[in-house]
């Protein structure tokens, strides 16, 4: 092949490589969230109540314990499941039962969920039961929320701040 043609061919080859990389390094654009949509992100860690009452040890049981581990009460380790329900404008959008973490199920229950909703104004009902020894939900909150398109509403649970917390 004529050397000049060869160099020209190489130039075309490199130009095609540049074109290929240049295009696919940013294109085609990807739409992760459609216009007009928003997210409700639910994320919190919460330990449920213990599944049973603590009870005092009788003297015989207490005597069996090692000297350094004598305690007056015996408590179950296992914690309650978390039953969570959310309604949006009265329609259920989320229901989940979360088990406590840990081999003995004595840790916190971790919740992470992403819900895609159209942007707009909503009545949001949040309910959670965290004690198997009681009937009904232990924590409830109703809120009027406006979720803008392309934004997220974070639902957290902070007992010190009264339970369910909404963060925009």
């Amino acid at each position: 092949m004529n050397p000049m043609l060869g160099y020209l061919g190489q130039g075309v080859g490199y130009a095609l490589l540049m074109l290929f990389i240049g295009y696919f390094s940013t294109s085609p654009a990807y739409t992760h969230l459609e216009p007009g949509q928003a997210l409700i992100r639910v994320s919190f860690a919460h330990p449920g109540k213990l599944v049973g009452e603590c009870r005092p040890l009788d003297p015989v049981q207490a005597a069996r314990l090692p000297p350094g581990a004598m305690v007056p009460m015996e408590c179950p380790r296992e914690r309650s499941n978390l039953d969570i329900e959310f309604d949006l404008n009265g329609e259920p959008i989320f229901h989940k039962t979360v088990k406590p973490s840990g081999l003995s199920r004595d840790g916190a229950g971790y919740v992470y969920e992403v819900l895609q909703v159209p942007a707009g104004e909503y009545t949001l009902d949040l309910r959670m039961r965290d004690d198997v020894r009681t009937e009904g939900f232990d924590h409830e909150r109703q809120a009027q929320v406006t979720i803008e398109a392309g934004r997220q509403l974070l639902v957290d649970f902070i007992p010190e701040r009264g339970g369910f917390v909404l963060i925009r």
Binding site: Q10, Y30, H32, E34, L39, R151, L154
Partner: protein, 531 residues
Amino acid sequence: MATTLREASQRALTRIEDRFTGVFGKGCNPFFHLGALTIYFFWIALISGLYLFAFFDTSVYGAFQSVERLTHDQWWLGGIMRSLHRYASDAAVITMVLHLVREFVRDRFRGVRWYSWFTGVPLLWMVFMLGITGYWMVWDMLAQYIAIVSAEYMDWLPFFADPIARNFISQESLSDRFFTLMGFLHLIGLPLILVFAIWFHVMRISGPRVNPPRALMVGSLLSMLGLSLVKPAVSHEAADLAAVPTQLSLDWFYLFIYPVIDAWSAGPVWVLLTLGTLLLMALPWLPPKKPEPVAEIDLEHCSGCTWCANDCPYGALTMRPRTDGRAHKQEVVIDPSVCVSCGICGGSCPSATPFRKSEKLTTGIQLPQFSFHRLRDETDATLDASTANSKIIVFGCDHAAHVDALKAEGIAAVSLPCTGMLSPSMIDYALRDQRADGVVVTGCCEGDCLHRLGNTWMEQRIRGDRPPMLRSRVNRDRVHVHWASSTDLATLRSEIAAFGERLRTLEPDVPAATRPKPTTSTAPEQSTAGV
């Protein structure tokens, strides 16, 4: 069915490669240097990355701003370095994937070659992880998207009680330590592991080509620089964890899996990637390659010269102290698990000289399925079969242009498992007594020998740069080397025709009567020590 498909894809690949050979030349065809090009792009990314890191701020609030300063305030160097870093990384994915596909199509992943294939598969994961962690560090909306989807993807595994994704729910939940971790992974951890993994990948081949030809290096670097100037890499908007990334300019070379995770959710993608990886790793045994007999050593003819061990492209031959009591210091020993039965060792053995008169021509090392004795017999037979006054003999290889198709009046041909198994003395032998007027040596294209180095060693032996050398008495005008792929027969035919024309203009060589007679003694260039 599978064989037909493989052959069809091999033909298609060869045609594409031939086009590139026509443009880039045989020595610089990028298809023949895909592995080396990948490593080269990795070096470009590494060096440009080191520069970027010098200005990078590993904090939640500083990361994005530091990248912006590099991109815009220091566009003339920092911006170019950033673009070069991105585009070289993208180019590395292209060459890496082509390398994988090419080795598959060429059937260079089974048999004893399983190791390089098997150790290459984890490299894919490492390269993609390296690229993905790089995109996290910019901490723009794209990084936010990648971070959250990656975390949700990891959370699918039953190892994490506290979901990793909870680290990205709000700006307050994100700590500087996250960027320190990303910095460590992207700058030290993964590159270091990658370098070791590349070393493992090539450790079972001797003299691996880790650098592409200079012309390709320059061309690739210039094209990446040109692209950096024409289309500088820029960030999305700064990450805002209260907002949701909507429209994203994805780098599809690295981030193609993210839309799939969005569409399918994490579980099916884990299954897909795990099964895909396991399938890739298991390919060398689906089905396993039928093993060929490996080279055999005959210590009676081995002088322990080390030439075969130096020439073996797979490090299958090593030297050890003599065990048979003969005067030589060393003897060669073969590792059958690494030998690919190419026969290159036979071509480098000094005892492989056809001038010996032994009834059964045995050499120090040779393939049992294609012995040196057979090579001499085939050479004799093909030369004797032609009654033409002027004869050219073509020595070729089974994996390149099929030289048997060239056989015609005045053209004899012998096809070998690899051209590298041709002993230079066979060229001398063919020209002796003007049995042939010229010898053509052909085989796989430069840089694309099926057995890696057969054509390279052969060319060096003929040039006199590597033992065993072609004797100086051989008229070099009567020897022509032309490497040709399996689809390049027409070019080879015209090369032979032109060579034939040149031969006609040559003066006759020294008359046969005055030439040394075939002998059992050693030759200066190709000794028969130990015979």
